[in-house]
Amino acid sequence: MAMLEIVDFGKRFTIHHLGKTMPAIQNINLSLEAGEFIGIVGKSGSGKSTILKSIYRTYLPDEGKIMYDSERFGEVDLAQISERQMLYLRKYEIGYVSQFLSVMPRTTCRQLVTNALLEMGESVAVARGEAEKALAHFELDPKLWDSYPNTFSGGEKLRLNIAMATVKKPRLLLLDEPTASLDQQSKIKVREIIEKLKKQGTTLVGIFHDIEFMDGLCDKVYDMQTRQLTITKEVVSHES
């Protein structure tokens, strides 16, 4: 089966103080194979993040299925599995990079990445080594490693966020607008990072404002307006 298959998926929000239920997204169908990179595009408010957050169970899905081919549990519906199973998947299989960095206060950049590995049960020595490798890999200045991330620039925070998620080597990585509010230079860096991850065989789902930034990187593009899944791989190989 596909690594991830979303079938007739829908999500509503019930806002009690308004006495209203608002449909956020409906009838989402898309699938991706292991090692593929799918980009989700659309205006703000079109429900891009809702899809991503529903895959990660930050939002409770309402309709449809989110089938995921887990290494540990086999084929599972992420909309139905227990919270404990979801926690397991978050720890070992599915990574999430949000736009904002939300971490333990007064913990250094190096320690944050190390902790991500310690939580997986790695030994201190391995975790430290891997953390340093990851920080170097994502080109975070070693001068910053022992400082607290709330002083970091937007681009640095984002790279730390990506380092924390990818150091665990997730099979599926969800990227929530990794290029929003970044300057051109930082965007190019993020693009390079995604290229590296792809080469390592990570399956990626990313949300992007600007589709042109992803040119030549995505295997598939899902457009929230048209509900169309476009396969771009052929186009890419043709161009190159």
């Binding site: 929000f13 019930t14 806002i15 009690h16 103080h17 957050k53 169970r57 930050t58 939002y59 409770l60 549990f73 227990s82 919270e83 404990r84 199973q85 979801m86 926690l87 397991y88 939300s102 333990m104 206060p105 007064r106 913990t107 902790n115 310690l118 939580e119």
Partner: protein, 279 residues
């Protein structure tokens, strides 16, 4: 299910008062919040059921008076339950309702299985014993006899919670609130409990000390794999510490889920209000 919980709580009830015809039937009782107007009985915990898994941090949130602390006191045997069951899945305790155990067995659980950190250090510490003596008290209760060993263990624990060793013989009443809280954590950890209860541990501490305590708790959970129940009305604390979260209102569980899900996609009206109030 692919794993077994370490603590299972089923239908925990705690009421203050005898109840009357109006409120005895839980399906039909009419209460003002959790209070019966005709007889004055207060239903502090109503039908609370949950599982705690090994190595997991479970957050409990809710407003003052929602039953958070009462629930913890019941689990820690500080207060008797009105009814309900709880099971601890360790080899020697499995299959037995801990609420029905003898006082001796309950003491065994407190000494060997549980650790407790109270909101108010006065409850958890003997303020006129030395800090190291406070820890030794728990160690002795857990069956230790060797003074030298106990002193060494106490020193190590105090060091872990960043209490300077030259002050270890001092009484906790001389310490600041944050230091007292850290001595309490050291004491609670001294018997290597598989289950640790933390009741509003960061309430009333300044931000800098709070960061210290949070970091300490997270580190303990990571390094020792202790299961914890963390009660707090501070959602930010819960977000940092808890994997899963339960929301209590008027003594009942109204919502439970993954912590980020409860905070970002709250389902219940009350939880939505709570989350909208977050700074």
């Amino acid at each position: 299910m692919y794993e077994e919980p370490i603590l299972q709580v089923r239908n925990l009830q705690k009421q203050f008062g005898t109840g009357c015809i109006e409120c005895r039937q839980k399906e039909t009782r009419k209460l003002v919040k959790n209070f019966c107007k005709s007889c004055g009985t207060l239903y502090a915990c109503q039908d609370i059921s949950f599982d705690l898994y090994p190595g997991e941090v479970l957050g409990i949130v809710g407003e003052s008076g929602s039953g958070k602390s009462t629930m913890m006191q019941c689990l820690y045997f500080d207060s008797d339950v009105s009814s309900g069951e709880a099971y601890i899945h360790t080899p020697d305790l499995a299959g037995k309702n801990i609420f029905e155990m003898s006082a001796q067995q309950k003491r065994f659980i407190r000494n060997y299985v549980y650790g407790m950190v109270y909101q108010n250090p006065v409850q958890g510490l003997k303020m006129n014993f030395s800090s190291v003596g406070n820890i030794a008290e728990k160690l002795i209760a857990a069956g230790n006899k060797h003074v030298g060993q106990m002193e060494a263990t106490s020193k190590k624990l105090l060091e872990n919670v960043h209490i300077p060793l030259h002050r270890m013989k001092e009484e906790p009443r001389n310490f600041s609130g944050g230091m007292q809280q850290r001595v309490q954590i050291a004491k609670a950890l001294s018997n290597n409990p598989p289950i640790l209860f933390l009741d509003e541990v960061t309430t009333g501490l300044d931000l800098s000390v709070q960061a210290n305590v949070l970091d300490l708790i997270k580190g303990i959970q990571r390094d020792l794999g202790i299961s914890m129940i963390v009660v707090s009305h501070d959602l930010a604390v819960i977000r940092m510490l808890a994997d899963r979260t339960i929301v209590l209102l008027n003594g009942k569980i109204i919502e439970e889920g993954l912590t980020d899900q409860v905070l970002e996609d709250p389902q219940h009206e009350y939880t939505q209000q709570l989350v909208y109030s977050l700074l």
